[in-house]
């Protein structure tokens, strides 16, 4: 049984409310930090913990905090990124919906560490009922004296608000999120300057994922060193994984980093194996942006070691034979899933979500979608596979923000590992025509027929 530090109290009846949350040790980290620690000491604990950003990039959180400009004298802000939109990812919503005060507590303790007096939670507009839950939790915390002026008599002031987006994946990119929070289109900014120097309203700003911030109370209540004892190597602590696709028990799980992929997939404590008797064909471990891996590279790395749920093990072998932990959006495919269709579907997503600033992404994502669509619909051309590889290589690395890379990688990975499926679509269009949806029969059977 893995240690739980985020979801340990999620099943306590009434934990959504302030009273029950408080009675179960809630807001202890705020008391401890404000009464006994300096802001810099809080930052140091988080640095020691080795906690890495849980939104997908995995950048060390404490280090990100230490970059914030405290010398300019400008107001500082902490902005929580709750714009969860990466296909396959639905973990932050779970945390906010069922234990909202954990995020509020984390926001207060983290804002104190950064010296922020005005902080925001930016939540995607579709999670409107969660927005209401958070708003209620903030009001409760304020009524209890944990927000507002002179919190717990410490002299520290903090106002915290929820801000909702309106349907744009790109606003999960931190500078696009800041633009959106300023009431504009979500166009990412050119970096530098980084938000830590010039972010919200040109003030020093830190943007952190929900899960990252919700981890801070545990670190402060215990210690950074205790947190660093959980996990393996540079993958410290626990991680929320949201599992979907062809598995028996889809949902959100908290795992200790270092758990084997095999155990996560097959143990009854977690996914409980596949949803039917169809065998495992592929998986995407960290949301749609990360490379897809075929069955033979899921449980073992290319050099035969057990594949573990860590940043390092999942990326072992680079893009040739590895993938990434990313956001923890764990999508599982059995052999009835058509990889070409899946790749087209993801390309359509990125084309739809491209903000349109950079030509390689704006045009390239559309081209990839069109080419994949014609392959999937029986109009593929002999040269299309090379064409796709050429387009994706010209998007990658040539855009202001990582959406371009996120759109390019899945295409490259699908061709790398499932090239024969693309070739089959192109060579035998009559066998795949008139199929509106994901194939309803095993691809291996289609190939044989």
């Amino acid at each position: 049984m893995s240690q739980k530090i985020l979801l340990d109290k999620i099943n306590v009846p009434g934990i959504k409310t302030y009273d029950v949350y408080r009675a179960n040790g809630g807001y202890a980290s705020v008391e401890k930090a404000l009464k006994t620690l300096t802001p810099d000491e809080v930052v140091e604990e988080v640095k020691t913990s080795g906690l890495r950003g849980r939104g997908g990039a995995g950048f060390p959180a404490g280090m990100k905090w230490s970059f914030i400009d405290k010398k300019s004298g400008k107001p500082r802000h902490l902005v929580c990124n709750a714009d969860e939109s990466e296909p396959g990812t639905f973990k932050d919503r779970y945390l906010m919906e069922f234990i909202p005060h954990l995020l509020i507590e984390g926001m207060i303790t983290s804002s104190y560490a950064l010296g922020a007096n005005l902080s925001y939670i930016y939540i995607r507009g579709e999670y409107m009922w969660v927005y209401k839950i958070l708003e209620k939790a903030i009001n409760e915390a304020k009524a209890a004296g944990f927000l507002g002026k002179n919190i717990l008599g410490s002299g520290y002031d903090l106002e915290l608000y929820v801000h909702c987006g309106a349907g744009a994946y790109i606003c999960g990119e931190e500078t696009a999120l800041i633009e959106s929070l300023e009431g504009k289109r979500g166009n990412p900014r050119i970096k530098p300057p980084f938000p830590a120097i010039s972010g919200l309203w040109a003030n020093p700003t830190v943007v952190n994922n929900v899960e990252t911030i919700a981890t801070v109370p545990w670190i402060i209540n215990n210690s950074g060193a205790d947190y660093a004892k959980i996990g393996i190597g540079r993958s410290t602590g626990t991680k929320l994984i949201s599992a979907s696709g062809h598995v028996k028990n889809p949902g959100v799980y908290e795992i200790e980093l270092g758990l084997s992929v095999y155990e996560f997939m097959n143990s009854d404590e977690y996914l409980g194996g596949m949803s039917s008797d169809r065998p495992l064909k592929a998986f995407v471990p960290g949301g749609s942006s990360v490379p897809v891996l075929p069955a033979n590279l899921i449980y073992k790395t290319a050099n035969g070691e057990d594949r573990l749920m860590t940043y390092e093990s999942l990326s072992d072998g680079g893009f040739a034979t590895g993938s990434m932990l990313g956001s923890g959006g764990f999508i599982v495919y059995n052999d009835t899933a058509c990889i070409v269709r899946n790749t087209w579907n993801f390309s359509r997503f990125y084309h739809h979500e491209s903000c349109g600033q950079c030509s390689p992404c704006r045009e390239g994502t559309g081209w990839m979608e069109k080419v994949l669509h014609r392959i999937e619909n029986g109009h593929g051309r002999e040269e299309d596979i090379e064409l796709l590889l050429s387009i994706q290589s010209k998007i990658e690395g040539n855009t202001i923000c990582p959406l371009g890379d996120a759109a390019a990688w899945p295409v490259a990975a699908a061709i790398r590992h499932f090239r024969e499926e693309f070739e089959y679509h192109i060579r035998f269009p009559e066998k795949i025509k008139n199929r509106d949806h994901f194939v309803a029969e095993p691809f291996s059977k289609v190939i044989m027929s």
Partner: protein
């Protein structure tokens, strides 16, 4: 192509204005524009779920920004509707993880049952069915967004029930 100009009755009630002013107060005094997205949600919810040019102009006036600043935001974000939509908007997630568990089939079923194509509204103005991008509910597929709420782990029976409940006014769209 000729563009239809849809008419909309604007009604900025006291409740709505109070909520708008509350939202504006969440940002520093000289940063009123920051309230634009949340304010547009409130205004749209109170106006049959869509925003006409006239309504956007009204929002610009309240926030004290130029109308173009509102138009460019409304046209960028998918949740703002620039023409009338059905009273009940069924927004099916059609991104891959949902499709693996039958989202496309269920959307087809719903469209057929209501007699519309994706993106269309029924003649009585009650229902709109659209396919949208990932809603962050991949583990509970197939699913849809209906106003402020998600309807998850759907199947044909649940769709039948949902449509019946909508027709009988048993479904809350906005949590106000």
């Amino acid at each position: 192509m000729e563009r239809t100009h849809y008419k909309q009755e604007i009604n900025m009630t006291e409740t709505l204005m109070n909520r708008i002013n509350e939202l504006i107060s969440h940002y520093p005094e000289d940063k009123r524009k920051s309230a634009l997205l949340p304010v547009l949600h409130e205004v749209q919810d109170a106006h049959d779920n869509w925003l006409s040019i006239e309504l956007m102009n009204k929002v610009a006036e309240i926030i004290q920004i130029k109308p173009i600043e509102v138009y460019e935001v409304v046209s960028f974000y998918t949740m703002y509707n620039q023409k009338p939509v059905g009273k009940y908007m069924f927004e099916f997630c059609t991104t891959s993880p949902c499709c693996l568990n039958g989202a496309e089939d269920l959307m087809d079923y719903t469209c057929e049952k209501l007699g519309v194509n994706p993106g269309e509204t029924t003649a009585d103005g009650n229902f709109t069915v659209v396919g949208v991008q990932c809603l962050g509910a991949c583990g509970y597929a197939p699913m849809m967004q209906l106003g402020d709420f998600y309807k998850e782990n759907l199947n044909e029976e649940k769709i039948d029930q949902l449509i019946a409940d909508c027709k009988n006014d048993k479904i809350i769209v906005h949590d106000k």
